[in-house]
Subunit: 363 residues, 2 copies
């Protein structure tokens, strides 16, 4: 999130292959710039982590210098889901530079959530970040009604109402509605990484692969489980070895116990997060199983510990901080009048470590 | 943080041994209530997690329904220090109930910090929470100048400018200044738990005990190290087996490697956080050491994983969520006109698990 030298407008212009004046125009909106050029400039600025001074000026004139984020989850989730603190850290790294703050509100019910957004709209925030977007989400319509600028973070095109072709997060709305419903989307997909993990295990020779899911009320947990099942089917393998965890270490331990007692037992377990995988790894070792010879394990999140266990835990880097930074940057660009309909962040990436190996037939 | 039944004003009155009317008066401030009684009532409300409706009414009339929290640390710290997300979750659990939001700002320099507080004071927040309080801290004076209500969270009486006798967070100020400088303090001490851990290890028979510290630029890391050295001296043991970690898994691993190569090597290691301890435990096991027979280890934070490793990691519960909730509740009480000069939260507690045992002489 830090760079040795701060990028300049010249760097952005060079990278985008345009003049400095064009970069300036793209940000100020004073004269029209083609959408393709504007997109290229924005991507260059994105890559170089550059914030336009015009953008900064526009932001400085904003009434509140505040971005709103409403979490419709229990406060405990903030502390147990490793995505949140990293996402918020990423947001703050961008907001701090722009001299802005993040207003965090936690709500228990949909009613409370609506009330908060209504309060936000009375000049309390300049715009909001919408997390956990789902199909049929009522918030985009509410934001439109309230005139609140917003950015959606979505874990899949479907969740954002996007078809494969691109920007269309409006479902079956009429053309009239399209123009006003559409919000910028930041897309960070979960499924491809799970598919890659399963492929890696299958290539290593595994056939009996189990999945310990997260709590299925969360979209990202459901997506990881669905992706696991789809990947197993693609390889012609039985996708039914799925047990429900809840992202806690306790469930990682108890579900692993359950799986290790099956006959025949799985030779590999794909966990929906690192905490469950680390508890499972520790349990398996205490039972005398050799890792990875007798059991391969994989996590998700690439937490700080994963790389420094012995053996290292194979995991998936979600780049939550980059996702947070990109989401904040997209919202700031929106507030500065720059249209950024859709930004795909580099998806989560598999990081293979010592916890994956070929299965032995020793047991 | 959740309870099966919401407490009522009657529950608070019973627990404090007063009438419901007195509880109401203590919160409304409409007629005087003795300081001792008020304190007792507040503690009862605290224990029962009850928020006075009078307090709620006062808060509803507040201009901003927002509490400010400025972090003068790098954004990364939010995601790597497990205390922050839990502390914030605890704050939010109380603020959400009061219909309030938390405005988070991250700053790089003291100048930026002052600028943010000045902006906060222009009707943007009702009050602020001051973390990482140190002796000679300039923020209390700034809050007074700006007229911003504040609560200090301090890890030791000294850090809050308190002497052992009680409330005196004003240092060498004149009496005139005392009245206006003093802020409510929430006190959550680190040192006693480290002393308890060392005692536990000494009682188990350990003599060569090492400490892997956190980054010493943080007050709480320094306090843990100082407490370790003091405890070793109290037991007549050599306190010099201290190596500097930085709270990351990488440093936990590398410092453990270093300690295990010493001759004679330590029989126990006290780590300044769980992540370093878990990396150390994993490394020690991969080297064939039996835990705890050949090496005892302890962490700090009591993270979700600690209880569910095999063996379980002995650790220290910091109750960061309770500390956050208490801090938020203290600030809300302050805003509602209730004087709560000092609140001691139950200090961190040692949780002994399988990673501590008598040292063997097998090696």
């Amino acid at each position: 999130m830090s760079s040795s030298r701060r990028a300049t407008i010249g760097d952005v212009a060079r990278r985008a292959g345009v003049s400095k004046a064009t970069v300036s125009l793209a940000y100020s909106g004073k004269r029209p710039v083609s959408e393709a050029t504007r997109q290229r400039i924005f991507e260059a600025a994105e890559d170089l982590e550059w914030t336009a001074s015009e953008s900064a000026r526009a932001l400085a004139m904003s009434r509140t210098a505040t971005i709103g984020l409403v979490l419709a989850r229990s406060p405990e989730v903030i502390s147990t889901d490793p995505f949140f603190p990293r996402f918020i850290a990423g947001c703050e790294s961008v907001l701090a530079e722009a001299g802005m703050g993040l207003l965090l509100s936690v709500v228990a019910t949909e009613e409370d959530e609506t009330a908060i957004y209504r309060r936000y709209a009375t000049g309390r925030v300049d715009g909001v970040i919408l997390l956990d977007v789902q199909t049929g989400d009522r918030r985009p319509a509410l934001m439109r009604e309230l005139g609140l600028p917003a950015v959606l973070l979505a874990p899949s095109p479907a969740a954002a109402g996007l078809d494969d072709a691109g920007f269309d997060n409006v479902g079956d709305k009429s053309e009239d509605e399209v123009e006003t419903t559409a919000f910028p989307v930041v897309l960070a997909e979960n499924a491809p990484a799970i598919r890659d993990l399963v492929s890696l295990l299958v290539e290593a020779g595994h056939r009996r692969i189990a999945h310990v899911s997260g709590p299925l009320r969360y979209v990202h947990a459901t997506e990881r489980r669905n992706a696991f099942e789809a990947a197993m089917l693609e390889h012609g393998l039985d996708p039914s070895l799925v047990v429900d965890g809840d992202f806690t270490a306790a469930s990682g331990r108890s579900r692993t116990l359950e799986l290790l007692d099956r006959e025949p037992r799985p030779t590999a377990i794909v966990y929906a997060n690192d905490v469950m995988a680390i508890a499972g790894l520790s349990l398996a070792r205490s039972r005398g199983l050799l890792i990875p010879e007798q059991l391969s394990l994989t996590g998700f999140d690439d937490s700080d510990l994963a790389a420094h266990l012995s053996p290292g835990l194979s995991s998936v880097s979600t780049r939550a901080d980059e996702v947070g930074a990109t989401t904040a940057r997209t919202l700031l660009a929106t507030l500065a009048g720059v249209a950024v309909p859709i930004t795909r962040v580099d998806g989560p990436t598999v990081i293979a470590r010592g916890s994956i190996g070929p299965p032995s037939d020793l047991d």
